[in-house]
């Protein structure tokens, strides 16, 4: 564990020193993965499927503010929908506007959720999203997660039914409109995923906020277990096509990723925890101090070590003065006197 803590400190230092170059690289990779994922799911407009176009747009996203990646992702989705048919792009545009007005204008970290949720669903690890947003976000991040789930199901439905939704004639347009809207809004799988993700996000956030030992670990493990149970039970009741094995794999992966992220965000040593009680004129104080794990030793060990060194140096009959404590002026006077 201390080895990891040392590695983490080095990583932090490296990021601190080279963040000017590292941040654009991270943004570039994220944009690239997101655009490739959108192209794989929808992939109707040949121009956007070209890797050169994807690379150029990703490069642009690397230097532009992070919101622009979400905007470009939206443009990609709309462009692919336009290639399918006019009614599809119309519905996609209206859905995005309604989502922005009713949900996203109140949601924090919305860009991150909108980009990462469809990506996690596409990679088969959707459980990672509610656990990460529950750990690192607030209560309101459940709204962002819910919006991300909706976007994924919309894109997924359009991608899998692109052939049926393709524009043929104006006479068929109403039937296709019905197919598109009912396909998304009447899918039991969508409502199940929406409910599970929101519940797990709130649960993880609620547990990690409790001032108890190992709260983060409990939140991650319990979140994964609840995710699995809800999907298994809900899937059985609603008779969805979600496989239990894939849900179990997603839950385990989310658990591992959550514990890894925890090491960066909240790495403390509960064994070294200390509790104090004291009082002043108005209050009694019950203080719980949990030391952070940093580098080779915990902060508490470092404190005790530095204290011991200080004590030893005070006990020593003779110790060399540090360069700051030397009074050069006095020494110069003495040497002049000798002369």
């Amino acid at each position: 564990m201390t080895l990891f803590a040392e590695f983490r400190e080095k990583l932090k230092k490296l990021y601190g020193e080279h963040s000017t170059y590292l941040l654009p690289v991270i943004k570039f990779v994220l944009a690239l993965v997101v655009f490739i994922s959108i192209n794989r799911t929808l992939g109707q407009l040949q121009v956007l499927n070209s890797i050169f176009v994807v690379l150029i747009v990703s490069l642009l996203c690397a230097v532009l503010p992070f919101q622009m990646t979400a905007i470009f992702a939206g443009i990609f989705v709309l462009a692919h929908c336009y290639a399918i048919g006019l009614e599809t792009v119309g519905v996609a545009l209206v859905v995005l506007i309604v989502l922005e007005i009713l949900v996203l204008r109140f949601a924090p970290e919305k860009n991150m959720a909108l980009l990462l949720t469809p990506l996690a669903f596409g990679l088969g690890v959707p459980c990672v999203i509610p656990i990460l947003f529950g750990l690192l976000g607030g209560v309101a991040s459940a709204i962002s997660v819910a919006a991300g789930v909706f976007i994924y199901y919309f894109i997924h439905f359009v991608g899998t039914n692109a052939g049926s939704l393709a524009f043929t004639s104006f006479a068929d347009a109403p039937a296709k409109l019905e197919l598109l809207l009912n396909g998304v809004f009447k899918s039991p799988e969508f409502y199940l995923s929406l409910a599970v993700c929101v519940i797990v996000t709130l649960l993880v956030f609620g547990i990690k906020s409790i001032a108890a030992s190992y709260a983060w670990n409990i939140a991650i493990i319990l979140g994964s277990v609840v995710y699995f149970i809800l999907y298994a039970v809900g899937g059985g009741i609603l008779q969805t096509s979600i496989s239990i094995a894939s849900v179990a794999v997603a839950a385990v992966a989310a658990c591992i990723i959550g514990l890894f992220v925890k090491l960066f965000a909240f790495d403390v040593d509960y064994k070294e925890m200390e509790q104090f009680q004291f009082e002043d004129d108005d209050y009694y104080y019950y203080v719980k101090a949990v030391p952070k794990v940093c580098g080779r030793k915990t902060t508490k060990e470092q404190f005790h070590q530095s204290k011991n060194i200080k004590d030893e140096s005070n006990e020593m009959p003779y110790h060399e003065e540090s360069s700051e404590n030397i009074d050069y002026e006095k020494k110069l006077e003495e040497s002049l006197k000798n002369l």
């Binding site: 519905v91 209206v94 309604v98 109403p174």
Partner: protein, 144 residues
């Protein structure tokens, strides 16, 4: 010589400006009632737009039924339902918007207070520097 304290305060100020954005800084001109009132008026129009779009989506999802049965439908009842749906959505979103914007206003106000404090600190540093400069000029004149 570089004044370390001044650099520190100026860095804090620049960071606050970057985090809050110039738009939020102008919020100090508003009172809470005005800010929330303005946000609620905006909310009314946004909810109206969203409701129209929801109706369009709903109509799209039931377009075949609507086209077949529009002549037989009780339009007064349909209109009443649409209006009551809008009022319900408006009330719900007005409450949400009120709570969100009150919290936002309080958060931004505390950030602005912190920003003002930093500004005062900077002004104090400038004042001390000016006094030092004027003192040095006086001693130079006396020496002359």
């Amino acid at each position: 010589m570089i004044n370390k304290k001044k650099v520190q305060v100026m860095t804090n100020l620049a960071r606050s400006e970057k985090n809050m954005g110039k738009k939020k800084l102008t919020l100090s001109q508003y009172r809470k009632r005005d800010y929330v009132g303005r946000a609620l008026i905006g909310n009314f129009f946004l909810v109206a737009i969203a409701y129209v779009f929801i109706l369009v989506l709903w109509a799209g999802a039931h377009i075949t039924y609507l086209l077949d049965n529009i002549n037989r439908m009780n339009l007064f009842w349909l209109g009443t339902m649409i209006l009551s749906g809008f009022l319900f959505l408006l009330v719900v979103y007005s409450i949400i918007a009120y709570v969100v914007y009150v919290i936002r206003y309080k958060t931004i106000q505390s950030q602005i207070r912190e920003y003002d404090m930093q500004l005062k600190r900077l002004a104090k540093i400038y004042k001390i520097e000016e006094e030092k400069m004027s003192g040095r000029q006086d001693t130079d004149e006396e020496d002359w």
